[in-house]
Amino acid sequence: MNKQNQLADLDHSGEPYIIYKSKEGFDLYTNFSKKIILNNKNVQSFLSKKYNTKSKNTDLFIGFLGYELLNNLIKIKIPKQKNINFPKGIFYKPEKIIKLNNKFKYQKKYNYKKSNFKININKNSYAKIFTSFKKRIKLGETYQIKICTKYKTKSKINPLDFFWRLSKTNLAPEAFMIKDKNFSIISCSPENLITKKGSLITTKPIAGTVKKIRNMNKMNALNYFRKNLKETKEHNMIVDMERNDLSRICKVGSVKLSKTKVIEEYKDLFHYVSLIKGKLKKSIKNIDIIKAMMPGGSVIGCPKINTLKLLNNQEKENRNIYTGSFGYIKFNGDMRFNIIIRSILNFKNISEISVASGVVVDSNAKHEFSENYIKAKALIDLFK
């Protein structure tokens, strides 16, 4: 049986599966023998567990850590919020991995009804939050903070169809989808937070987004960012913050910038990106890495702890998966995790898309509000 049919049959069978972007194409993970639903009680032991280091390619757990769980891991409590009771984190143990190429095909087999999204914060409330955060910046309580907005619609979607269409137009290096019996997640995340192989670790923060307009190429985008002082400062701050987080767990003198301020191109936008690497200290365990790096700084703001507190006190709705991390932990200790952004969570026949953009001292509420929309657009377009 060929791989395309396997995927279609698997999808049709209703068995849970996960697709994750690989270098060559996509990896399809299925035949789950274990499913671990994480909470504050079992997350520590799950992340600290040691396994026999066998060499089978299925010797790994794949899944996600939600935003609230990541806060709790670094001892930050989240005040009571509106909550849809979506699990705080889930990991699966696959028994089968199938390699797919970039152009996996999928035949749409159903008619999809167009839906309209509602935003949870309108322009006026956004501007109010913006002004209050700007005051905090002037007082030095935060240097950069991200306001999160959420788009929601009632809908029943076919996740594979959505993911296929999204990947066709927006092939992102950290794209993934999870299809389980009672929920699905579709994401075209561009941002890798942790790649750990042996004692080497890298992180690739994105800070800076510009909408692609006609005739704009990578060179124009680079010039735009270089000339734009606000974007440059925002990016600098994230670079120093990620150097800091790596320095918590890496050997002295090993944390280095290996790519500084380069451009990555996507369907509707360009991103400003850096790559930072380090060599882990001997005593460091995977749980230490996760606590040092998550939640990823570029989607929170800076300094992380105080900014998380300011954000959590302001946000009325649980972020669920948004700004959490998806990825895998191999039994030999290697890890790969992204930051969950540009994603759709489908749960209880509701689809939600969250986006965030940054307040720094010289940003402007109107501009950031529309930057949020640019980020959501590629996903909202799928519902047309």
Binding site: I137, G140, K233, N236, M237, D240, R243, D245, V252
Partner: protein, 185 residues
């Protein structure tokens, strides 16, 4: 041993790595400090951090206790913390510098660094020292070339030093040399 007092900042571990190039470093949160480490340390460092010096009375207490007895270095908030303890006013500034690279210059011949020498440095501060400023034995030794805001002070009698900018930032060129000179003073 160098003891770094962390004000829960997202740049403190860059400071830890930078100072570790020169000596053994210990680092704890300002509200979880260890007495024996404080006593053992030859240098105490006040890290950068969010907010205003008046939010950190514990750090002020440590400054007053060890002033003149150990070398003390303050970075960003730490710079402001020391000056605040000496009676200076820390105020909001019109133009805020976060993630900003500035040119600064040595303006004082009482500095360990040669008068007139220029540096490129990274800045992350909302607040600044209110001037004029006069405290015995404390000298402003470097200023931002553009805004003239105070960027370093030195008290070479009591071995107390402060950087308003971030010597550990990737935006600061030759930050290690600055630290080396202060540590060997």
């Amino acid at each position: 041993m160098i003891y770094i007092i962390d004000h829960k900042d997202s740049f403190t571990h860059n400071v830890v790595h930078q100072f570790s190039l020169f000596d053994k470093v210990e680092c704890d949160n300002y509200n979880e400090l260890k007495k024996n480490k404080l006593e053992k340390a030859s240098v105490i460092i006040f890290s950068p951090g969010p907010g205003n010096p008046k939010n950190y009375p514990l750090t002020s207490k440590i400054y007053k206790k060890f002033k003149g007895k150990k070398k003390i270095i303050g970075i960003c908030l730490g710079f402001q913390q020391i000056l605040f303890c000496e009676g200076a006013k820390i105020v909001e500034q019109k133009k805020i510098y976060h993630g900003f690279q500035s040119n600064i210059q040595v303006i004082n011949n009482k500095s360990l660094f040669k008068k007139g020498k220029k540096f490129k440095v990274g800045r992350y501060h909302s607040l600044k020292l209110k001037e004029p400023f006069k405290i015995k034995d404390f000298e402003i030794t470097m200023r931002c070339l553009e805004s003239k805001v105070a960027m370093t002070f030195e008290n070479n009698k009591d071995k107390i030093y402060g950087f308003q900018f971030h010597p550990e930032s990737f935006l600061t060129i030759n930050g290690n040399l600055l630290i080396k000179k202060i540590l060997s003073a």
